[in-house]
Structures are given as structure tokens and as C-alpha cells.
């Protein structure tokens, strides 16, 4: 099995096989040659990266021990606030905006000298499943650049899958970490709501958003999760990680573990995905786990519930982009109100506008009860259905996406068709649960297929352990290196 990039680079630095500056330069030149094809990065930050690398080299020269993520070149999705570095959510409306504060996750990583290579592409305000609503154009899939990297964290997935970042942080509101990780054949963890601070993450839908790692292996995801999770006083919904670091229990035996498979998750998935998924179930059986089939009928409503609630929150969260305090402002207007309306009409893309309008509609007088309130109650039902499920099983196993990466341009044509591809990922966000997507095979055209392990709240250890066991058992069969990026 391939060793994770974080583990590998960490030991290379410790053993002085390479200096952090050399390593950083290697990544920077790999970005230069690959990013034209991948469009993963929308901004590269070489000076800051090399400054950090120098600090790490000095530390190594003094013979000091490095922290787990120290000196490792990485990237952040462009909705994570970075002080002094343009943060745009890939929207014209945030053109030129340089935050004056750091998101808590970045402040923490910065303290341990994480080497930020640059900011990565995403669907505008994280609204999309293909990365194509980005005002910079979409990111490409490193396994076939004619296909999308997925979304919304498409840039991070493309960069990590294409070996031009050792790992990255994305955000997951309805699948935005897990789906692109699945499309690009890598690992993506959406943590329990409240375990990673949202402070500084530019909000799409506040009660769904969660920052998490996109990495090459489960162990790497576990290392990053341990580093970024924790209580943050700045975030009222923050609770932090529960229990000891997840790396400690990563390799535990899973004999007797009860793995639930809900029929509803398999409705409508492609035959190829289904057969790869069934094979993965076999691998788990061979590891001594028990596969328990069960039903989650309330999942039928998961998609509309998600779109109603997420868009309602988004319509409110995105009200602040008015051209007054930051970002884009229209050139001509006759009064303040017209300035605001024109700025927003010119600054937001079509999908963002659609979701703002939908969100405004479901909250507006006369429709609130039928949509927002009803959806909120159904959210309660879905939360309860999962709670009940975890009475009988330890984790739930499901496909991550019903299909493999689509061809570029296909997602844009029909919004509702595109919404339907989120069917397997949104339930986790509705219930605030942790979910990790890992590669489990390929389709006939060699495109990666992913599956996700879903746990009860704050049970990251359990799902990462189950994921690691599968990854270890399945070996190289499910992992294919991309032709792009650094070769070390």
C-alpha cells in the first residue's frame, strides 16, 4: 500500500534526505508545470511558502523535533480566510478581498509551520458539485483532464490527487470534501459538525458547513484531523474532538464490527459503482466485520431538505456582499440601493443567484411553514433515524457518489439533475455526522470510485479505523497514482 504523503515527507525532512526549501521548490515547480492542465490553484504564494520553509530548515538545523505537519507543503480551499492573502470563494464579488484575520484552522496550522503553497479552486461560494461554477473556471480531474475534479472542493482534490500538494483543507456542506475526493481517487474526511472550528470559513450554509482534510491516505487524514480539530471559543457551535487522537486507534482490529448498509443509499447508483461497492463489503467480511442491511426511509427527503435549508441559510449569509466594506463594486449607479443591487447582480454567478433566490423564497412570508419549517422538522427525523441506526451498527457504509467523475460541461446544463448527484453525501451534513470517503476501485474507463464510512457524532476514530483497515487490506488495487505532480 502507498504510504501517505504527509508521513513520507515528514520522515524525509526528519532524516534530512531533503531540506524543506528544496521540498517546497519541488512542489512550486510541479505546480508551475501541472496547474495549466489542472487549474487546481487559483493563487500560488511562493514567497510566504519559502519563508516558512526557511524557518523549518533553521529548526531542523538546530536539531529540533518537527510537529506532525511542520514543513509539509499544503493548500487551502479559497473559502478559508488567510490574513493578507486574497480569499475570494472563487467569486467575482470577493475580487481583491484580503482578509485581516486568519481562520482558526489556518492560524493553528501556521503556528506549526505548515507550508501554504497557495489557495485552491472551488465552486463559487462552495455551491456546486463540479467546481465549474468557479469564476476562474473549473479544476480538472488528474486522472482525466476532460473530466471534472468534483466539487465544491475540486481544487484541493485536484491538487492532492495530482500531487501538487501533500494535503489540503476543504469544506463540506453537502459533500464538497467527499465527492471530489471520490472523483479524484483520494481520501476526504468530513468531520462531525462542531469538531473543527468554522471561524474564518466563509459561510455557505452555517449549520452544515464543516472544514476537513483531503489527503492521499487514511492515516494522513487522521493526522490532519487530529491537528485541526479542537474547541474554539470564537465558534459558538464548537465542541472539539472527543477522546484521544484518532491516529492512536487507527490500526485497531475490526473483528466483530457491525457495518450497516442502508438500501436507500444504493437506489439509483450506477451498476459499476454498485459492483465495486459490493466487493468492498466482501473485503470487510473477510476482515471479520459483519455487514448489516437495514433501511433508512427518511433519506428519501434528504435532498430537498438539504437544498431548502442550505439555500435558506445561504440567502442570509450572502446578504453581506454589498460592495461597501470589501470586494467588488459596480461602476455606475444612481443611489446606494442601486449600487448594492447592481454589485450583487454583476458579482454573483448564476448558480449562486439561483440558490439565494430559492433560499429567499422558502423563508418568505407565506412559504416559511410549507418549506423551511417542514424541512427543519424532517431534519429532526433524519437525525433521529441515524441515531436509531447507530443503536444497532458501529458504522454505516455507503457509496460516496452514484457515479464517477462526469465530463466537463455536463453539470451545468440541468441544475436539478446535478443536485441529484449529491444524494449519498447530503444526509451526513443534515445530521452533523462524520463521514470519510476512501477509494475502492475504478470504473471501466479507469476513473476512481469512492465509498464512505459514516459514524455517529464525534466517532471519527471509529470510521477512520474502519477505513484504514479496508485501505490496508485492499492495497494498491484501489489506488492509482496520477501522472501529474512531484515524483519523490
Amino acid at each position: 500500500m502507498a504510504e501517505g504523503m504527509i508521513k513520507r515527507l515528514g520522515s524525509m525532512l526528519e532524516n534530512k534526505e531533503i531540506s524543506c526549501t528544496e521540498l517546497t521548490n519541488t512542489y512550486l515547480s510541479a505546480i508551475e508545470s501541472a496547474n495549466g492542465d489542472l487549474n487546481a490553484y487559483i493563487k500560488v504564494t511562493p514567497e510566504a511558502a519559502l519563508d516558512t520553509a526557511k524557518a523549518v530548515d533553521e529548526k531542523l538545523a538546530r536539531g529540533e523535533q518537527l510537529a506532525p505537519l511542520e514543513g509539509i507543503p499544503m493548500t487551502l480551499k479559497d473559502n478559508i480566510s488567510t490574513k493578507g492573502i486574497e480569499t475570494t470563494c472563487c467569486s467575482k464579488i470577493l475580487e481583491g478581498y484580503k482578509p485581516i484575520y486568519d481562520a482558526t484552522v489556518w492560524a493553528e496550522l501556521k503556528k506549526s509551520n505548515a507550508v501554504l503553497l497557495g489557495k485552491t479552486n472551488m465552486d463559487e461560494f462552495a455551491m456546486g458539485s463540479s467546481c465549474e461554477t468557479s469564476c476562474f473556471g473549473g479544476a480538472s480531474n488528474p486522472h482525466d483532464i476532460g473530466r471534472v475534479a468534483g466539487g465544491s472542493s475540486g481544487g484541493v482534490a485536484s491538487a492532492v490527487g495530482g500531487n501538487i500538494a501533500a494535503y489540503g483543507l476543504g469544506s463540506d456542506t453537502g459533500g464538497s470534501i467527499r465527492q471530489p475526493a471520490s472523483f479524484c481517487g483520494i481520501v476526504g474526511l468530513k468531520p462531525t459538525y462542531g469538531s473543527v472550528s468554522r471561524y474564518g470559513l466563509i459561510a455557505y450554509a452555517s449549520s452544515f458547513d464543516q472544514i476537513g482534510p483531503i489527503t492521499t491516505t487514511v492515516e494522513d487524514a487522521s493526522i490532519v484531523y487530529d491537528a485541526i480539530s479542537g474547541y474554539d471559543a470564537m465558534d459558538s457551535t464548537s465542541q472539539g474532538r472527543r477522546g484521544e487522537p484518532t491516529v492512536k486507534t487507527l490500526k485497531n482490529d475490526i473483528k466483530g464490527m457491525k457495518i450497516g448498509v442502508a438500501d436507500e443509499y444504493l437506489d439509483g447508483v450506477s451498476d459499476e459503482v454498485r459492483s465495486v461497492f459490493e466487493k468492498a463489503c466482501e473485503v470487510y467480511r473477510s476482515l471479520g466485520a459483519e455487514i448489516v442491511r437495514f433501511k433508512l426511509p427518511s433519506l428519501r427527503y434528504a435532498l430537498p431538505v438539504y437544498y431548502i435549508l442550505a439555500c435558506a441559510e445561504a440567502s442570509s449569509n450572502l446578504g453581506r456582499y454589498d460592495g461597501i466594506r470589501y470586494g467588488y463594486r459596480t461602476a455606475n449607479y444612481k443611489d446606494v440601493n442601486e449600487m448594492v443591487c447592481k454589485t450583487r447582480s454583476e458579482g454573483f454567478g448564476a448558480e449562486v443567484k439561483r440558490r439565494i433566490l430559492l433560499g429567499t423564497y422558502v423563508l418568505s412570508a407565506g412559504y416559511y411553514d410549507a418549506y423551511y419549517k417542514k424541512a427543519q422538522n424532517l431534519r429532526g427525523s433524519i437525525v433521529k433515524a441515524f441515531k436509531d441506526a447507530f443503536e444497532t451498527c458501529d458504522v454505516i457504509l455507503a457509496p460516496t457518489v452514484p457515479m464517477t467523475a462526469f465530463k466537463k460541461g455536463n453539470a451545468i446544463s440541468d441544475p436539478i439533475e446535478t443536485y441529484l448527484t449529491d444524494i449519498c453525501t447530503v444526509p451526513v451534513n443534515i445530521a452533523g455526522l462524520p463521514g470519510v470517503s476512501i477509494p475502492c476501485g475504478f470504473d471501466g474507463e479507469g476513473m476512481p470510485i469512492g465509498m464512505q464510512l459514516i459514524g455517529d457524532t464525534f466517532c471519527e476514530s471509529t470510521i477512520l479505523n474502519a477505513a484504514w483497515q479496508y485501505e490496508n487490506a485492499a492495497g494498491a488495487e484501489v489506488f492509482k497514482p496520477s501522472a501529474y505532480g512531484v515524483k519523490l
Binding site: G96, Y97, K98, I100, Y193, G194, S207, S236, T237, S238, Q239, S298, R300, Y301, L303, P304, Y307, I308, G319, D322, G323, I324, R325, Y326, G327, R329, N332, Y333, K334, D335, N337, M339, K342, R344, S345, F348, K353, R354, I356, L357, L358, T360, Y361, V362, S364, Y371, K374, A375, Q376, N377, L378, R379, G380, S381, V383, K384, P415, I416, G432, T457
Partner: protein, 93 residues
């Protein structure tokens, strides 16, 4: 059913302009999305759970202690137009 008037009204509340010629298309698009959203209204009422907040959290408070504010230059740094320490929207003709 989403009407043109609905779309005009929600666009006004959202501070978005929709050009006259895009209005019909947007009304249809919104209608489709709402039809999709309407599937929740065929959900049986049974098992409806009250939803409070995601982890049923209570009382996350901050103590009432002043922390120095940001330098004004920082606060105004990203603004399009400023004058005399204020954010500014200039009159245009």
C-alpha cells in the same frame, strides 16, 4: 406554482436584478426547483421531530471583557472607497 410576481418579489428582497427578458426563464427554473422541494410535502407527518440546533447545544457565552479593537486602517483596508475614516458610497450621476 412560482409566478413571475413571486420571482420579482424575491429578487427585490434578495437585492438582485433580473432582466425582463430573463424573467420567464427564471420563473420556470424556480418553478422546477420548488417542485423538487415540494417532495417534502408528500412526506408523511408521522415521525416529525422537533429540530433545535445541530448538537442541541446550550449557553455558549463570552465574558464581558474589552479587547482592543482593530486599527482603523485595517478595518477600512478592503473598502472600495473611504473618506475621513468612514466607509463611503459616493453619489454618481
Amino acid at each position: 406554482m412560482v409566478t413571475r410576481e413571486d420571482v420579482i418579489n424575491i429578487a427585490r428582497l434578495s437585492k438582485l436584478y433580473i432582466a425582463e427578458e430573463e424573467l420567464d426563464e427564471m420563473t420556470k427554473a424556480m418553478g422546477d426547483i420548488i417542485k423538487f422541494a415540494d417532495t417534502i410535502n408528500v412526506a408523511s407527518e408521522q415521525g416529525v421531530e422537533e429540530f433545535d440546533n445541530i448538537n442541541n447545544l446550550k449557553n455558549a457565552f463570552r465574558e464581558d471583557v474589552v479587547v482592543p479593537s482593530y486599527e482603523r486602517d485595517e478595518i477600512l483596508k478592503n473598502a472600495n472607497d473611504i473618506d475621513e475614516g468612514h466607509f463611503l458610497v459616493r453619489k454618481r450621476v
